[in-house]
Amino acid sequence: MQAKDIIEKAEVLRAGLSTGFRDEMVKSLYREAEIIARRAVRRAGDKKYDLDQRIDRIVTSPLTGLPIMLALLGIVIWLTVSGANIVSDASATVLFWIGDQGKAFFEFLRLPWWITGFIWDGVYRGLAWVVSVMFPPMAIFFPAFTILEDLGYLPRVAFNLDWLYRKSGAHGKQALTMAMGFGCNAAGVISTRVIDSPRERLIAILTNNFVPCNGRFPTLIMLATVFVAAGFSGFTASVIAAAAVVGVVLIGVGFTFLMSYLLSRTVLKGEASAFTLELPPYRRPNIRRILYTSLIDRTLFVLWRAMQTAAPAGALIWVLANIPYHNTSLAQAIAQWLNPFGYLLGLDGVILLAYIIAIPANEIVVPTMMMVYTNAGMMISTPETGEAIRSLLVGGHGWTLLTAINLMLFSLLHNPCATTILTIYKETKSLRWAAMSVVITLGTAFLVTFLTASLARLLGLV
């Protein structure tokens, strides 16, 4: 018996069947389902529950849908910014105090200077920076986001944005995968499996990184709080910082559309396909489960991952900063060498060095950068509060508002982290597309920061 025989036989039998036999069968299937359901379900009384529909009419209306979405995003980010602000400074103070005590204890034991330095100025400080910068915003953002997800709001977002995706030649469900990207881009890439068409799925994969994941949010929040909102205080400051972060997120979403548009008109040509999307009923979120998934699963997971990279990164920076090289340290020499290129992008050599060291998990760019500044002898004390960070960077290292804004843009647009690149490779089974994801994002990041830097200098703003 061979496959050929079976298929031949099937073809013969098929020809003998009256046309449309299967359609008939499917139709009777549906008819049967209808009859059975009608027999089994009874509407008791005239309890009419159209509350869901009434809410949907508002949140998915062409007029109010987008503003509501924007407002919700704004609220979530404002909560994160203002909440994180309070916790961040406090936790930094505590963590760095512990570091000082540890160092003093090691010195008391008369351990060699390089052991003390390597452990407390290198590894420990790397960990402390990551925890104090990343943990507070994540612990607020993840639960808030999960509440919206559990409520059933995400499909409404997809519904609202569908026309924009269709215009960009992409799939409307890309809104869902993009929303997943806010949590983690690797998860966002995996979630593109809900998209049927391979073409549209690739677009969704390649553009997912333009939404800042939770690893990158803290960077954006810190820069917005410390630089953009500098000079304001209290409530106004938190609103301005939140507005800056929302602005950056919108720029990212804008790039998703732009890049989808460009891709679907060049390498991934095609029309957007139609799909049906069910709007599930609104459900009351289960608070205990939300706290569990968002704190234990998501926050601690992301934090643990960041710490695993931060510890060796801290160690590497300490070593680089303590290897002498022509009257200065190796770290400083590399930073100086990178400086001209950094200048072109409105950044500086230290930022680029930090970025290179942090490639495995580029969400730790800011902590790494702070470590380079401190360890290369460029900063004498460890700044603990936002205000101290600002005055040191602006006063000591020539930072401007442009530096901060371009660093925000750079961390929004630059290449995916190692995990995400690996996930893209696994999902597409193609080295070419994995490489493309890096080229597209990094190219965009260089181009955009170069343009903003040049423009700012041309206009004499800096």
Binding site: R39, R42, L151
Partner: protein
């Protein structure tokens, strides 16, 4: 509804609750399992919630269709028997195109589960029954879990599961996966169906006699070509339907490969899912 909650919340076993004497959440401990149970259903009907309640795992659950894109596996023990539970991505039909729906279809077809629970949404039963009928084309051992009974009650809907069971020819159990209502009855029914204490007689929409005859001729040929194939009937139907993909799988000899891969345990993967909980 007259149905009383049998289990409180699975997270907090009450000592006096008989169901808890029987149900033991096994998490990712799946070694030496004796039975395989698949969880199928339309998207967003609460399969993952049910999966979590039974296994004690923390598979991410989202209120949007398409949250589960790969299959997750976990274990539970009921009345001393170890079961492996496979949570499949939601699907509207088995004639599917997208990758997540294919995962569900391939497992039901070639994974040969001992029983399949089709989780349905009590508030949208008609649409959900289409899938139930299609799953019943593939396998006899089907249990219909009518989930979201609490939502149905709130909407003023009454679902007569007895009428449903009678019409479908397989047991239909009302549950609310979120609160644990009806779960012990569901598990007992699953056990009874597997052990043959409950004999199912699934309703089959058979089509014309000539179609039946055509199937009867093809099935033995397919069974001879792929020994041990669990669903020759379905493959025959698809071939008669002119399904190019099924034809191609048959021609390239990938059919046996597909069957073998579906039987392989995905334990390592499940363990990672449980630890990372990323999806």
């Amino acid at each position: 509804m007259t149905e009383k909650p049998v289990i409180s919340t699975p997270a907090e076993p009450c000592a006096g609750c008989p169901a808890y004497a029987q149900l033991e959440q096994m998490g990712i401990k799946m070694d030496g399992f004796e039975r395989v149970v698949a969880l199928a259903g339309n998207p967003n009907t609460g399969k993952s919630t049910l999966f979590n309640s039974l296994t004690g795992l923390k598979q991410h659950v989202g209120n949007w269709p398409g949250k589960t894109v790969t299959r997750a596996e976990g274990g539970y023990k009921f009345n001393g028997v170890r079961y492996k539970l496979v949570d499949l991505p939601g699907t509207y039909s088995l004639l599917s195109a997208s990758q997540d729906e294919e995962v569900a279809r391939d497992f039901l077809l070639f994974g040969n589960p001992d029983a399949t629970i089709v989780v349905t949404d009590a508030t949208a039963l008609e649409r959900n029954l289409n899938l139930v009928l299609q799953v019943m084309e593939i396998t006899d051992r089907v249990i219909v879990a009518v989930n979201l009974m609490d939502e149905a009650r709130r909407k003023g809907l009454e679902v007569d599961t007895r009428s449903l069971s009678r019409d479908l020819g397989v047991p239909a159990i009302p549950i609310t996966a979120r609160t644990g209502e009806g779960l012990s009855l569901l598990l007992q029914t699953v056990a009874d169906v597997i052990e043959g204490r409950i004999l199912t007689k699934p309703l089959r929409v058979n089509g014309t006699p000539e179609f039946q005859k055509a199937i009867e001729q093809l099935v033995p040929m397919i069974e001879e070509f792929v020994p041990g194939i669990p669903n020759a009937r379905w493959v025959a139907i698809r071939l008669l339907d002119g399904d190019a993909r099924v034809r191609q799988v048959l021609e390239s000899g990938k059919l046996s490969e597909l069957i073998a891969s579906q039987r392989r345990e995905e334990k390592a993967y499940s363990a990672r899912m449980a630890v990372e909980g990323r999806l």
